[in-house]
Symmetry: C2
Subunit: 488 residues, 2 copies
């Protein structure tokens, strides 16, 4: 199958009056309303000149307008660049240029930041200025081609240079269906979305909602009180979280219990500490650990709740449509041997935008080399040992040491720099830096320097002076030795 | 996506110990056991010479062996012809020849019937003779190509000559996924299968079971007492039925109620009488009416329980992946106007086997002209007015008048013959014949003649003598005028 009806159009046909979105203040929109609003936005964008295949960036925090925009760009057939609002202007400028973006849609509240971007040759549009009624929306195309690109989402790599992961409608479609075959679908399901929609973890919920016909409880930020309220008072059945959110929610839960219909706390963004999972079990919170990445359009493996404690640290098994093998030197390894995680399936990206060399290296016959290390146990449960070797996951955000090192090394007083992750009670991990100075050096100055070029969560939270960095014969930095020096 | 792991292999990986099959006597097999048994059967067939792409017929009534055989043929990569056991030898011989069948697998109990077939050049195998252990099954292929043909299932047409509907793995895969998006999937689901697996309605449950990871309660026949027992005592949540089965189940239910977790009585095979639906509602039985056919790999539209009584007579809306339009003279009609039902979607057949002319006429740009008549109401609910104009549905079996007429007209004493459906309290409809005799005629003789060539359910249950049949200018039989004569 290559074409089908736009999912929101189809859902509005099937379930017009069903709740599609519930906002924090209780405002509710039906699928029929959501569809009409999205089509009005699409018409508005088409009138501005946006056409099928155009590269369009969106910079917005979670909101109903952002949600409409995501669907509107699908109606137009544009390729959407959903940009992390926490990035610095410099990081955003890189994406706009690298992605050959023609239009930039932005949230009212981010007006100031947008004005400071290098947006030459890019048409700017405030998504709050589009009227959501009156226009003739009959021309808006209702059929989608599943093979078309829907998004390019940037992720930094081990090389330090961000790359645009290309995702198609097919990737999203199969991600929604594969997740469904694992988690099931109950008539009364409601999925709480507080993860940012510019990350694939949040975006995937947008599509699940319309494909499954269930409401999103849309939160602008992670407000633990508001989320607790929705879980306990508003019949939410599923919520996607990262470790730091799980921790806060459990703390807020205290001696209370979630209602019986709450059935899934889907945990992404790196393995959770054992103590936390035990705490969840004590409180009867059904945690599902998962493994996934932008390149697989969100979760690829999930550990069901039944095995949450017997298989602590495991990310479960590959979802129904997915295949996974552990490889070393081109050879598939038996259980318990650690190798590179290599994945295949209909949710796997077609490749990075304009990175043919990288794609040739990482994508072969539909198999993607993730760069992550892991092993299977005897029963086929996956254990992820190391995320892309050096990846630091801080509060659910991916932090690539190489990217920070490259900024540090550009400072005139820095001779060499190494960055690793350090355990952190609140964020899971935070980046810390080891600096080989050229001359006397002030870490406050270095911190300010980083802040001017890197998103806040990437700025090192700890600083260490060192005479020489541990490197191997081919000068590759041995980050594990730095980790050891932290006493971890 | 063109390849994926064989669904049973994948399911056994994900849920090895989960119940896959529960038989009437309580015997239970897990997915791991079912997979191993199916692979042993596959190995046995491969050793007999059966290869990928071979045409293999199966003649069997529902049983665990038949179920294993269905999966085994998928492992081999053969194209399966699942043959209606109620057909006469003459009808089966037609399929074997038309379908260029090389192997015929049969059930022990049908040995006698098989020996009377014209099986020259066809290798016969008793499916009970295959050992289900010991062999080395490691060579059995685990990957399937979704575009490959899995089945050719025969259905008679308005022309009277049976045609083989070609179905692919893709058709089954999407059918399972589309149904899921409508009915949902609960962790405790159990689907009762008493429809014959040689019909697409039964076969589709075989695949749903492995794709969803839920058990089939496999019944050899429709035994109302045994089914009632499974629904009330064995936690079955879903059962597929045709009208005559629904009627008997409701009668057996009497003043009892099904347990709360019983959530879906999926009703196929023609619209149900209003009185019956009202009775179901009184007894709180959740009936879902549907519309589908072999050509769409089972249900294409389904009416959810919420609308079962407000939309009486409707078959609901096209499932999520499906599109449907009402057409007359190449033009799409507005609501409330009756036209031909034309369907598109990933469950639609690639066409009839070796019937290029028919395929050119009925399949255009992915749209299949069903020959059925219907209309939409204002809210997009489908009403099927007439199944393929003249189709008679008797106890869930399709009966094509043209096929019976062609047999009748071959009798030396018959000058002309017309067949139509008559309402029947037990079977919904039964075929009745109008005969223009050449000479004095004995209906008992004609009935015996039909019985020798047609399955029992196709033999007319009423006989009428007539001087001349009503035909239009181009000599097309006006069956509606015959129906009028029956006073319906």
């Amino acid at each position: 199958m290559t074409t089908m009806l736009n999912w929101l159009t189809k859902r509005a046909e099937l379930s017009p009056t069903q709740d599609a979105v519930v906002l924090k203040d209780g405002t509710t929109y039906s699928f029929e309303q959501l569809k009409n609003h999205a089509k009005h936005m699409a018409k508005y964008l088409m009138d501005l000149g946006v056409s099928q295949g155009d590269h369009v960036a969106v910079i917005a925090k979670n909101s109903y307008r952002f949600l409409i925009t995501v669907h509107a760009l699908n109606y137009v057939g544009a390729v959407s660049f959903l940009i992390n609002t926490r990035l610095t202007n410099q990081e955003i400028d890189f994406q706009l240029k690298d992605g050959q973006v023609k239009y930039l849609l932005f949230d009212e509240n981010l007006k100031q930041q947008i004005s400071e971007l290098d947006h030459q040759g890019i048409q700017l549009t405030n998504i709050h200025q589009c009227p959501l009624e009156v226009a003739d929306i009959s021309q808006v195309e209702d059929e989608i081609n599943l093979n078309n690109k829907s998004h390019i989402l940037y992720t930094s790599g081990t090389t330090g240079e961000p790359k645009g992961v290309q995702l198609t409608y097919n990737n999203h479609w199969w991600s929604a269906n594969a997740s469904l075959l694992n988690l099931g679908l109950y008539a009364y399901d409601r999925w709480l979305l507080s993860l940012p929609m510019f990350h694939v973890g949040g975006l995937s919920i947008v599509y699940r909602s319309v494909i499954y016909g269930i409401p999103i409880h849309l939160h602008e930020t992670f407000d633990v009180e508001a989320i607790h309220h929705d879980l306990t008072e508003r019949n939410v059945t599923i919520v996607s979280v990262v470790t730091v959110m799980l921790e806060q929610l459990l703390e807020r839960l205290g001696e209370e219990r979630y209602p019986d219909h709450f059935r899934c706390m889907l945990l992404g963004g790196g393995p959770a500490p054992k103590g936390l999972l035990e705490q969840a079990k004590e409180k009867a919170v059904p945690v599902y650990q998962s493994y996934g990445m932008t390149e697989t359009a969100s979760q690829f493996c999930t550990l069901d709740n039944a095995n949450a404690l017997t298989k602590i640290g495991s990310a479960g098994k590959p979802l129904f449509t997915n295949q996974l093998k552990i490889v070393h030197n081109e050879t598939e390894l038996p259980p318990h041997e650690v190798g590179e995680i290599v994945v295949k399936g209909p949710t796997v990206t077609m490749g990075y935008y304009k990175r043919d060399d990288e794609n040739d290296k990482t994508l072969q016959n539909g198999w993607l080399k993730t760069g992550d290390l892991g092993y299977f146990d005897d029963e086929g449960f996956l254990y992820v040992v190391d995320r892309r070797k050096d990846l630091v996951i801080s509060g659910g955000e991916n932090v690539y040491p190489a990217e920070i090192e490259s900024v540090l090394k550009s400072h005139p007083k820095v001779k060499d720099a190494g960055v690793v992750g350090q355990s952190d009670d609140k964020w899971g991990q935070v980046p810390v830096a080891f600096i080989v100075p050229k001359s006397s050096i002030d870490f406050v100055e270095l911190e300010e320097f980083c802040s001017s070029q890197l998103a806040k969560y990437k700025v090192p939270k700890g600083w260490h002076k060192i005479d020489v960095l541990p490197r191997n014969a081919s000068k590759k930095l041995l980050r594990h030795q730095l980790v050891k020096q932290l006493g971890e």
